[in-house]
């Protein structure tokens, strides 16, 4: 076969599935095309996805991002503010608020009474991290975690804020962080996409903020870099299963015939796209095996389910998705992102947030422990957090047992672990009202720059030219937060 076509074919395959050596299903294809193809591919697997990437030796090979959609309340979970108890119900001082803008939901509210958290906090581990009683399992692994208490963003509403977190811009149209990584680094596993997304529904607030395809979309990058959503109902990947009545043997025969006919066409027309198409059908066939294998957790021992909690046996829960995330990480998927909905506690916060924590606490902590036990934590960066924080003042009526909190972009807490981050530390501080940052602010662009840094990427140099401009995930900003890295 024509060496030029071979190269084209090989490059195109790598775009989607990375660049490791050829897998099992390649046999049929290789026989049809040329054995040299395989050899060429194996050789190519030594080099980077984009030329020159990674820019330097990475600490993390992959990222698991546990996105908490709706914005968890930092002062009820991690950012302990003991002095608030004394001023419960009193008006938030103007000197703290400083006239900053509020959302349309509370800007016409007449009072801004302080709602101290009703949950108890304690210090945990050698690091002495403060964690509320809502998160006992996370508290138990506190020594593994790096809490960033000084996150901040510009957006004050969910859609722009979460879009900002995912793409570095508040408005739709930019590539998501995972598609930037697929574009830059490809995937380590040829049978699975480089960027996988899973969503789950919180029990605390079941009709909460929606999600959108754009959050894992590829923006102006080619669509092959978009995240592939693994689903808990129906096919784990859209259209993965053969139609009813069409068995594997028939499918194999059909694909062999299809490859023969497409190869005849390739010989006649010489268009390398035909070669790519032949390869993509083989990859599709392999996904039909590899994805169900991945999502079938029946081979996991009981103690694993026990570690992740009872919900981990129910497909589609956050806990089940955490377990799948570990399986994906084991298989070398580059960017694994979970979205858990339900953190938007405008009213009835104590009850709702308890439900959210029940959904997520045990499984998040289990994932950290599980990765560590398997030796995967060192090169897997795990991030846990939402799109902004919540206000110290109450939205709606403040009662002895009940309160709500509005959106607060000026400070919030996330945690990360593994993949080159320091463990058992807290970074950044907020004032006594958990309203403004007093030390070491970390902007969303800074977090992006830091995540890319862990993966060996200089965020200023991963660019894509679109409409005349070299775009990057961090726009024109972003500083790597070196202090939290090993």
């Amino acid at each position: 076969m024509d060496p030029y076509l071979e190269r084209e074919l090989m490059i195109t395959r790598r775009h989607f599935f990375g660049r490791s050596s050829a897998g099992i299903g390649m046999a049929a294809l290789a026989a049809l095309l040329n054995r040299e193809l395989e050899a060429a591919d194996t050789a190519a697997s030594q080099t980077g996805g984009l030329d020159g990437l990674p820019h330097f030796e990475p600490k993390a090979k992959r990222v698991i991002y546990l996105f908490q959609s709706g914005a968890p309340s930092q002062m009820d979970l991690f950012d302990y503010k003991p002095r608030l108890d004394d001023c419960r119900g009193t008006e938030l001082p103007d000197s703290v608020r400083m006239g900053q803008r509020l959302t349309g939901m509370t800007s016409t509210q007449q009072n801004f009474p302080i709602a101290a958290s009703k949950f108890h906090f304690a210090k945990h581990g050698d690091s002495g991290a403060w964690v509320s009683e809502l998160m006992p399992h996370t508290a138990a692994v506190a020594d593994e975690l790096c809490f960033i208490k000084s996150m901040h963003t510009e957006a004050i509403n969910h859609d722009p804020a979460i879009t900002f977190f995912q793409t570095g811009a508040q408005l739709a149209g930019r590539p998501s962080i995972g598609s930037w990584l697929s574009y830059g680094l490809g995937s380590e596993n040829q049978d699975l996409p480089g960027f996988v997304v899973m969503v789950s529904q919180g029990t605390g607030n079941p009709n909460d903020q929606p999600l959108y395809d754009r959050l894992w979309g590829s923006g102006f990058l080619p669509t092959k870099y978009q995240g592939v959503k693994f689903r808990s109902v129906g096919d784990p990947v859209l259209y993965l299963s053969n139609p009813p009545g069409l068995g594997d043997k028939t499918r194999r025969r059909m694909l062999d015939d299809l490859a023969k006919l497409n190869t005849l066409k390739l010989d006649e027309f010489g268009d390398p796209e035909i070669g790519t198409r032949i390869a993509q059908y083989e990859l599709a066939y392999r996904m039909q095996t590899s994805v169900p294998e991945l999502t079938d957790v029946s081979d996991e021992p009981d103690h694993i389910f026990e570690m992740y909690g009872p919900l981990s046996r129910t497909p589609g829960t956050f806990a089940a998705n955490c377990l799948l995330a570990r399986r994906l990480a084991e298989r070398g998927v580059r960017f694994i992102q979970l979205f858990h909905r339900g953190w938007d506690q405008h009213t009835n916060l104590p009850k709702q947030i308890s439900g959210q924590c029940r959904d997520t606490d045990q499984a998040s902590a289990a994932l950290v422990t599980d990765l560590k036990q398997r030796g995967l934590l060192d090169d897997t960066l795990v991030v846990w957090g939402g799109e902004f924080g919540r206000t110290v003042y109450c939205q709606g009526r403040l009662t002895a047992d009940d309160y709500g909190r509005d959106h607060h972009p000026r400070c919030f807490t996330i945690w990360m672990t593994g993949g080159g981050s320091k463990r058992g530390i807290s970074y950044g501080e907020t004032d006594d009202f958990c309203y403004n940052i007093t030390r070491d602010p970390v902007h969303v662009h800074d977090l992006h720059a830091t995540i890319l840094h862990c993966l060996g990427i200089d965020h200023t140099r991963l660019t894509y030219k679109f409409q005349g401009r070299h775009h990057r995930l961090t726009d024109v900003a972003g500083n790597v937060v070196k202090e939290i890295l090993t």
């Binding site: 030029y4 775009h15 989607f16 599935f17 803008r101 349309g104 939901m105 016409t108 509210q109 004050i156 509403n157 969910h158 859609d159 739709a172 929606p210 999600l211 395809d213 754009r214 979309g217 080619p222 669509t223 092959k224 109902v233 129906g234 096919d235 990947v237 859209l238 259209y239 053969n242 139609p243 009813p244 009545g245 068995g247 043997k249 028939t250 025969r253 059909m254 015939d257 299809l258 023969k260 006919l261 497409n262 005849l264 006649e268 027309f269 010489g270 268009d271 796209e273 035909i274 198409r277 059908y281 599709a284 039909q288 709606g396 009526r397 959106h407 200023t460 030219k465 409409q467 005349g468």
Partner: protein
């Protein structure tokens, strides 16, 4: 087709021959893989791209970022005296600081600086050297100079060119030492052009007819037929919808539905009627401002309302009001000007000559729309208009005529009616109706005459928080309320925000307290639901999802006197705006003050209907409430007057006619007409009422569509510092960038003037940008690859003379869109075979030199449409509301808690362009095949090749069903033949237009044999496979055989060739 004015071949050839003799060719060069620098350096082609990419960031238009006061994008500055030295001195390298710095050894001196991340290659430095040596001739950026109609170049091979396009293409090929490919075979050609012009494949009969037609005009006849097909409009519209970010939802958060399909249909219609592009432009940008604008011209302006609209609870409306205008400016400048003007929102443009101030001058043209930053969450956001479909317009026209004659009928009866009524009045005794009220639409009625029950049904009300209590009321007894007790009426009067309803009661408030009269609302303060209350003497109507930011609240202007009976009646027309709420006090319309007008979600609750309560214990009513009525329609003012009038019919009749009040006269007449009038009169009356209702129903069922409108007093526009909505700088007025031609003299400096300026022949960009996009449709890549950027960062046009010829031709023909398509597809360039040799592939992988025909995968919607067409499932119907075909279950649900209600029947088989487009969860198969997401303007076509596409084609029920129906077709269609060979050949031809070759047939037949053996032995699997989709399996066919053919058909639909235009 009368408008097509493509020059005939003959006339072109004649002119070409003349040109060959007199015109020398300009030096041309490819800039392909084997880039060879031309001897003669040309600034625009060779130097500007280097400077733009490497230098303009710091030495470009953006004055804020400019370093060393050096500007290299303007001629004056590049050659200026910078204090004893100059950046560029023509012909003098030693004194050209620019050259000295880019070649400096000292890293401190060397440009570009290392930290910029930019670098110059030795070839680029060499080009700059030679340019300076050759005299450093400067050129304004090519795209900002008006195109001049280029002379046709001379070519050696004078037999190949068929029209002007070919002359330009061939001249370059000859310069490159290449020859064009032979013409594609006829079968390939008719499939290519049919897919290109209609988005659907040719039928075997069409292929046969073309093969049989040996006349020289055979191909042209096909092209003319295709251009005349209504499918052409659909095909052309599909790409325009991407550019216009058209969708069926609002695009933010829960992403509610909107209806803009009237605009989409306008686009299809415009293409099909070959509306000239200048008119197409003006109507879409400013149709509303044309003198006596028609409904269609207003609908056209939906182009700039297709952007997303945010209705999220906490947004700051001012922020989004700015984003909408920004979207309009960016989209309009991308689509018409091919400029990335949006870069100048926050700072002066870094590469092109647009200042930030100029950006906001453009912004000002689009800033006068009477809209709000907070959009409507479910539905269209104002400004919007009712836009009855042509059928509905016809229906209305007829109804109006019938109505006029029905009104005449009633008028004719008028004398007779008056006489008959007065006769009847005399005959009336007290036995006749006393307290009559019209009963239409009444769904709940609490007379409160000693019990709290609903007289409309058997449900019972119950007093709560106190003992039942009644007192003498307006009509018999009334319920008595003490600030604590209320009546729980159970599940009555359920309404949400799309529902029309009316509710009324007689009330006598004791003292100043008032309280809730009636409600269906949570019984806590600031609760959700609806209520009619009396607060401080004023009547309030509350329709509330969330207090403060998701509610309608209105208040009566006047206070009701306490301790007196008043009738209060509220109507709501389901329009979700405060304007849709009307209040009547004592039968008279009551002016309202709008307190909140931000309702975005339904106020429907599971609370009971309560009389005297709702909204918390402190809001309980004090006083008497009588005769509570609820209607499931928005009553008219006339109805309100009737209901509030308590006079009995016999009492009114007993009054002398001249003593009767107006309401009394109305009531008596209404009663008489409804109950007592002699049949001819009653019939005429009933007829009139029925017709009025019919008309109202048509008006109501008319879709609305969002449009552009102009405020009477223009809004002020300010430069927004760093582009932020809350950081206004200097005030600006509408205006055009200085680097583009000015408005023609006398043109109004408003949106209409701007629209006309876009298509003024002096505009250097619009025609080029438009024809370049057309080119992209046919060849996969534009002549300027960056179809969305003609600025200095954009690609230098590969065939500028050809681009300019096409642009000037477009204008010369009166912006004739069909003629332009025809010119392109009639060219020999387009008709070339798309086979490629290894050498050519290496030389020109992207086919930018056009030494072969285009070959690339079909667009997403065509992949679908073709499968449906080939099987015969396709339902062809132009326009109408978007449809919801198959989609994997739960896709919407898992992201946004809304269910996808899949359609059935013919809606499953419409063309892909009619598929309901939810922006936040776009149709998955479309996205997989590289559709634009429709969140923002998209004009660049991209194509990827992924395993997800393979999975979709193999397993999506759309394609499995199509395969089965295709199998049925070849098994039953007359002429398909009986043998497997014949049938498979037929299927292959349907999909690819050609018969399979022997080698291919062998593979297919062998496969078929195996499938047949398998499915004959596994009948249940055969049944399963052939049950895909909602169309019925042909039960007369052997199911094993059908399954085998289905498998073969599926294979054929999966062939690379099938989903490829070649």
């Amino acid at each position: 087709m009368g408008r097509v004015r493509a020059p005939s071949f003959r006339s072109w050839v004649e002119r070409a021959l003349v040109c060959v003799a007199v015109v020398g060719s300009a030096p041309l060069s490819s800039r392909g893989a084997d880039d060879r620098l031309p001897q003669r350096v040309e600034f625009n082609r060779d130097i500007r791209p280097i400077l733009s990419e490497t230098c303009f960031g710091c030495h470009g238009p953006d004055k804020a970022k400019r370093k060393a006061d050096l500007r290299l994008d303007s001629e004056a500055s590049a050659f200026a005296d910078l204090g004893g030295y100059r950046a560029i001195v023509p012909g003098d390298l030693d004194n050209s600081e620019l050259y000295q710095r880019i070649t400096a050894e000292d890293p401190e001196e060397r440009m570009p600086p290392k930290e910029s991340g930019r670098a110059l290659s030795p070839e680029q430095i060499d080009a700059i050297r030679r340019w300076i040596e050759q005299g450093a001739k400067w050129q304004k950026h090519w795209a900002l100079l008006a195109p001049e109609r280029p002379p046709l170049p001379s070519v050696q091979n004078t037999t190949w060119p068929l029209n002007a396009i070919d002359g330009f293409v061939l001249a370059q090929l000859e310069h490159e030492g290449l020859a064009p490919a032979p013409e594609a075979d006829k079968t390939t050609l008719i499939r290519r052009v049919t897919l290109d012009l209609t988005g659907l494949p040719p039928t075997p009969a069409e292929v046969d007819a073309f093969l049989a037609d040996e006349s020289p005009s055979a191909y042209q006849k096909v092209v003319d037929r295709l251009l005349a097909s209504p499918r052409y409009g659909e095909r052309m519209a599909a790409r325009w919808l991407d550019a216009a970010r058209y969708a069926d939802t609002n695009g933010y958060q829960s992403d509610g539905e909107r209806t803009m399909w009237r605009w989409r249909d306008w686009v299809i219609d415009a293409f099909n009627h070959n509306m000239p592009f200048d008119q197409f432009t003006v109507e879409q940008i400013a149709g509303d401002m044309l003198p006596s604008a028609t409904l269609d011209q207003k609908i056209a302006t939906g182009f700039n309302r297709n952007h997303r609209g945010n209705a999220e609870g906490g947004i700051i409306p001012e922020e989004y009001a700015v984003e909408y205008v920004v979207d309009r400016v960016d989209t309009t400048s991308t689509v018409w000007l091919g400029l990335t003007v949006g870069c100048a929102r926050c700072h002066d443009h870094k590469f092109d000559p647009f200042t930030q101030k100029e950006y906001y001058q453009l912004f000002a043209y689009f800033h006068n729309v009477p809209e709000r930053g907070k959009a409507i969450k479910y539905g269209n956001s104002p400004p919007l208009i009712a836009s009855p479909t042509p059928e509905q317009q016809e229906q209305l026209k007829q109804l109006e005529a019938t109505l006029a004659s029905a009104e005449d009928d009633v008028k004719v009866c008028e004398c007779e009616l008056a006489a008959a009524q007065s006769e009847w009045e005399k005959s009336l005794d007290a036995v006749h109706a006393n307290t009559w009220t019209p009963a239409g639409g009444l769904v709940a009625h609490f007379a409160l005459d000693g019990n709290p029950h609903n007289t409309c049904d058997t449900s019972k009300g119950n007093f709560k928080d106190g003992k039942p209590s009644f007192a003498l009321g307006q009509l018999g007894m009334a319920g008595e309320f003490d600030g604590s007790r209320y009546i729980d009426c159970g599940d009555a009067a359920v309404f949400g925000f799309y529902d029309k309803f009316s509710a009324c009661a007689w009330i006598e408030a004791k003292g100043e307290h008032g309280g809730t009269i009636l409600s269906r609302m949570t019984d806590t303060a600031r609760a959700d639901g609806y209520s009619l209350t009396l607060e401080g003497g004023k009547v309030h109507v509350n329709l509330v999802k969330r207090w403060l930011d998701d509610a309608i609240r209105v208040e009566s202007e006047q206070s009701l006197a306490p301790n007196q009976w008043h009738h209060v009646l509220v109507t709501y027309d389901g329009s979700r705006v405060a304007d849709g709420v009307k209040l009547y006090v004592d039968g008279r319309p009551e002016p309202l003050k709008v307190l909140l007008d931000d309702l975005n979600q339904s106020f429907k609750t599971s609370e009971p209907f309560r009389i005297g309560a709702g909204g918390g214990p402190e809001e309980r009513f004090r006083g008497l409430i009588d005769d509570v009525r609820v209607y499931n329609e928005a009553l008219s003012a006339g109805d309100a007057e009737l209901i509030a009038n308590l006079d009995s019919i016999s009492d009114i009749a007993a009054l002398p006619a001249e003593k009767r009040s107006k309401p009394q006269v109305h009531k008596l007449r209404a009663y008489y007409l409804e109950n007592q009038a002699p049949e001819p009169i009653a019939r005429a009356w009933r007829n009139l009422v029925a017709l009025r209702k019919q008309k109202a129903a048509v008006v109501e069922s008319s879709p609305t569509t969002m449009v552009m409108q102009e405020l009477d007093t223009p809004r002020d526009t300010f430069v927004l510092i760093r582009g932020q909505y809350d950081k206004p700088g200097d005030r600006v007025s509408p205006g055009l960038p200085a680097s583009l031609p000015p408005l023609p003299a006398g043109a109004p400096n408003n949106r209409l003037g701007f629209a006309r300026w876009l298509v003024d022949p002096s505009n250097p960009l619009t025609a080029r940008v438009a024809v370049n996009r057309y080119w992209q449709m046919y060849f996969g890549v534009g002549l300027v690859k960056t179809v969305d950027d003609f600025g200095s960062q954009g690609e230098w046009p590969r065939h500028q003379a050809l681009l300019d010829w096409l642009a000037t031709e477009f204008v010369r023909t009166g912006w004739d869109v069909k003629a332009m398509q025809k010119t392109i597809v009639m060219s020999a360039t387009y008709r070339q075979s798309s086979r490629v040799t290894r050498a050519l592939l290496q030389r020109d992988p992207e086919n930018r030199l056009l030494a072969r025909g285009p070959r690339f995968r079909l667009p997403a919607e065509t992949v679908r449409d073709q499968a449906l067409a080939v099987s015969g499932l396709l339902v062809e119907k132009l326009g109408g509301p978007s449809v919801k075909p198959y989609q994997p279950a739960g896709l919407w649900k898992e992201l946004a808690d809304t269910d996808y209600q899949q359609d059935h029947g013919e809606s499953l088989y419409r063309r892909g362009m009619y598929t309901f487009w939810k922006r936040t969860v776009a149709p998955p198969a479309m996205i997989t095949f590289d559709s634009s997401g429709r969140e923002a303007c998209c004009v660049r076509e991209t194509r990827t090749n992924t395993p997800l596409q393979a999975l979709t084609l193999m397993n999506d029920v759309t394609f499995v069903e199509a395969a089965r129906v295709l199998a049925q077709r070849i098994m039953t269609e007359a002429g398909a033949g009986q043998s497997p060979e014949d049938r498979i050949t037929r299927a292959f031809r349907l999909a690819t237009a050609r018969p399979p070759r022997t080698s291919e047939r062998k593979v297919l037949l062998a496969g078929f044999g195996e499938y047949l053996r398998y499915y004959r032995a596994h009948k249940s699997e055969a049944l399963e496979l052939t049950s895909a989709g909602e169309s019925k399996r042909d039960e007369s066919l052997d199911v094993g055989e059908l399954a085998a053919y289905t498998t073969v058909a599926s294979l054929i639909l999966n062939l690379d060739e099938t989903i490829t235009k070649e």
